[in-house]
């Protein structure tokens, strides 16, 4: 039997019981719609997290001075930081280390003209920008010579620029930090929020030496609170961290059994676990939505079984005039697939509309991918074939004599 004639008949059969076909389809509409919405939300969440992670920089870990984390209990001598710039220089010599940036940071009041603004001030060295993949959108970054001679220059984030300078171009202007005049030499590119929700653009970056001498002050010149280290690859992270630990223990002359006087934190690992959480959530959402797809499929099977019973006599007639088993099988399978496909198509549009609606009304990030739509479609087709198969086979295996006699 020819496919076109069969499609026509399947269409006719669907039209013969419109309400029933529509209700059966509704199961698939809801199933596919749910999958599309959940995948859009799940992938949106993943995308948002990945965006945030990519603003942080990759393969990063930080070394914090011991006194910083243990509140002076073990640091003993003067309660001062245990890390210094030469530690950072030594770490930079290790294999697999790309960038090392000793930093010192704190919150300070900024003043420009009649405006003032409190912001995070980071004193660091040029590799910091590279490690964080942070670019300067107007003006220029400071260099090693600025660090050496402790010049009073500053890079400011977008939020600082807006609040302090308004519509003015900040580059070349002089602002004050702790009564010290600083020349703004560049504006940093926007990074948005970090994983903790802090505005990363509310930042001022100045040379480490200037920060230590003019802004924060330090009992021991050259000591730092934190060293940021970037490894060359994710695979090398743990190796580089181990090497850093043994290097620092050796440099700090810590004997066996004495605890570390510093503390390390793998930033990339934290970010990765955050990403992993969202991925799991995304899969979970999809899995739950898939259950409704399954229920829709069972609905199709149910109705097809009723339909086969109702049309037993028709099947008998068709067999008597020459329908082979596979003709009957194809006919009923085609009906199931048609319902499933129509439901799938409607569900796809409904899902997209709702996902876009969610985005428009709540601002939640959603990602609509062709793959998700394709997967939903393939699953729906499979569901149609899978759940249509049994009723269709039941129809095809009817005994023509029995079927003809069926009232």
């Amino acid at each position: 039997m020819m496919l076109r004639a069969m499609l026509g008949e399947a269409w006719l059969a669907m039209g013969a019981n419109r309400l029933r076909s529509a209700l059966t389809m509704l199961g698939m509409v809801i199933g596919v719609g749910a999958v599309v919405i959940m995948m859009a939300i799940g992938q949106g969440a993943q995308y948002a997290v990945q965006q945030t992670i990519s603003t942080m920089g990759s393969n990063l870990f930080i070394v914090l001075s011991g006194s910083f984390t243990t509140a002076g209990v073990r640091s003993g001598s003067a309660g001062g930081p245990t890390l210094n710039v030469s530690d950072a220089e030594a770490i930079a010599e290790l294999d697999g280390v790309v960038n090392v940036a000793p930093t010192h940071q704190g919150s300070r009041q900024l003043v420009y003209g009649s405006q003032n603004w409190s912001s995070q001030v980071i004193g660091t060295m040029p590799p910091y920008l590279e490690a964080r993949a942070w670019n300067v959108v107007s003006g220029a970054a400071f260099g090693d010579s600025d660090v050496r001679s402790a010049t009073r220059v500053a890079l400011i984030g977008k939020t600082v620029a807006q609040n302090l300078f308004g519509d003015e171009n900040p580059v070349g202007k002089t602002m004050r930090i702790q009564q010290n005049p600083f020349v703004v030499i560049g504006v940093l590119g926007s990074k948005g929020q970090n994983l903790d929700g802090r505005d990363q653009d509310d930042t001022v970056i100045i040379p480490l030496t200037t920060a230590q001498r003019k802004v924060f002050g330090t009992p021991f010149l050259g000591s730092v609170r934190m060293i940021m280290v970037q490894a060359d690859s994710a695979d090398n992270m743990s190796r580089v961290m181990d090497a850093t630990t043994s290097l620092l223990r050796q440099r700090h002359r810590l004997r066996e059994g004495v605890p570390d006087d510093f503390f390390m934190r793998n930033l990339s690992a934290a970010a990765e676990s955050e990403a992993e959480t969202t991925r799991t959530m995304s899969i979970l959402l999809g899995a739950i939505a898939s259950i409704s797809l399954l229920v829709g499929g069972i609905g199709i099977m149910n109705i097809m079984l009723v339909s086969v019973t109702e049309r037993t006599r028709e099947i008998g007639i068709r067999m008597a005039i020459g329908a082979r088993q596979r003709d009957i099988l194809t006919q009923f399978l085609l009906e199931a697939i048609m319902i499933s496909f129509a439901g799938c198509l409607l569900g796809l549009f409904l899902g997209l509309a709702i996902a876009l609606g969610i985005n428009a009304f709540t601002g939640m990030v959603i990602v609509i991918s062709g793959t998700a739509a394709l997967v939903a479609f393939a699953v729906a087709a499979t569901v149609g074939i899978f759940f249509g198969w049994y009723p269709a086979r039941k129809a095809a295996r009817l005994d023509p004599i029995e079927a003809l006699r069926y009232q």
Binding site: M2, A16, D327, I401
Partner: protein, 232 residues
């Protein structure tokens, strides 16, 4: 001439709770092209079983059945379906038209299963509907016409694939006597054109239209004789 149908020792037994029940016990029969034969007998005589076997709807448990020279006793279901489609035309007591399809589509249905293209199907269905005098209702649904007309459509459907013979199972069972006469007249007409007709009935006045009468009783043929068909 080579017989259209030749059955040799044809038997059919059914499994029942009480054991094997023989519905047909070794039947021999030949039907030649152009014959108009009535198969008669009371309920339980085996005539329906015989009809199902002739119609390739069932397979025998004993003996052989040659249809147009082919032994179909051991064919599989799909091969039998092809035979039913190409070689046989069925007319049932209950007309058995598909209610959702137009008369034309009903008549064309066997051609769908034999793979004819749309234009061929339409033309052949039209021709057959004209032949049974219902061409003007081609686009109507079966529910719009009378029982006698529905049976004419069923006959048109049986003829559309140019079968070797037509099997009519109590074709007048649901019709009044006047309409029955008309239907039998149509069969007579088709037979005169050379179409072989096998008719199953338990009414002797209907069987009287046929040129040969075969009587079944308890799974055997008890009589087989030629008669002069009543003039129509």
């Amino acid at each position: 001439m080579e017989p259209v149908i030749r059955v040799v020792g044809l038997g059919k037994s059914y499994e029942t709770a009480a054991g094997l029940f023989p519905a047909l016990k070794g039947v021999d029969l030949e039907i030649r092209p152009g014959e108009f034969i009535a198969i008669m007998g009371p309920s339980g005589s085996g005539k329906s079983t015989f009809m199902n076997l002739l119609g390739c709807l069932d397979t025998p448990t004993a003996g052989d059945y040659f249809l147009a020279g082919q032994n179909v006793a051991h064919m599989d279901k799909d091969a039998l379906a092809v035979l039913r489609n190409r070689t046989l035309g069925f007319v049932f007591q209950g007309f058995n038209l598909l209610p959702r399809m137009s008369l034309q589509d009903n008549v064309a249905l066997p051609l769908v299963y034999s793979g004819a293209d749309k234009e061929t199907r339409r033309a052949a269905a039209r021709e057959m509907l004209d032949k049974v005098g219902l061409g003007k209702y081609a686009d109507s649904l079966p529910s719009r016409i009378s029982g006698g007309q529905q049976q004419r459509v069923a006959i048109a459907r049986a003829l559309v694939n140019k079968p070797q013979l037509i099997l009519a199972d109590e074709p007048t069972g649901n019709l009044d006597s006047h309409t029955s006469e008309e239907i039998m007249a149509l069969f007579g007409e088709l037979n005169r054109e050379g179409i072989t007709v096998v008719l199953v009935t338990h009414e002797s006045d209907i069987a009287a239209h046929a040129k040969r009468q075969v009587r079944f009783l308890d799974g055997h043929i008890v009589s087989d004789h030629l008669t002069e068909a009543v003039p129509t």
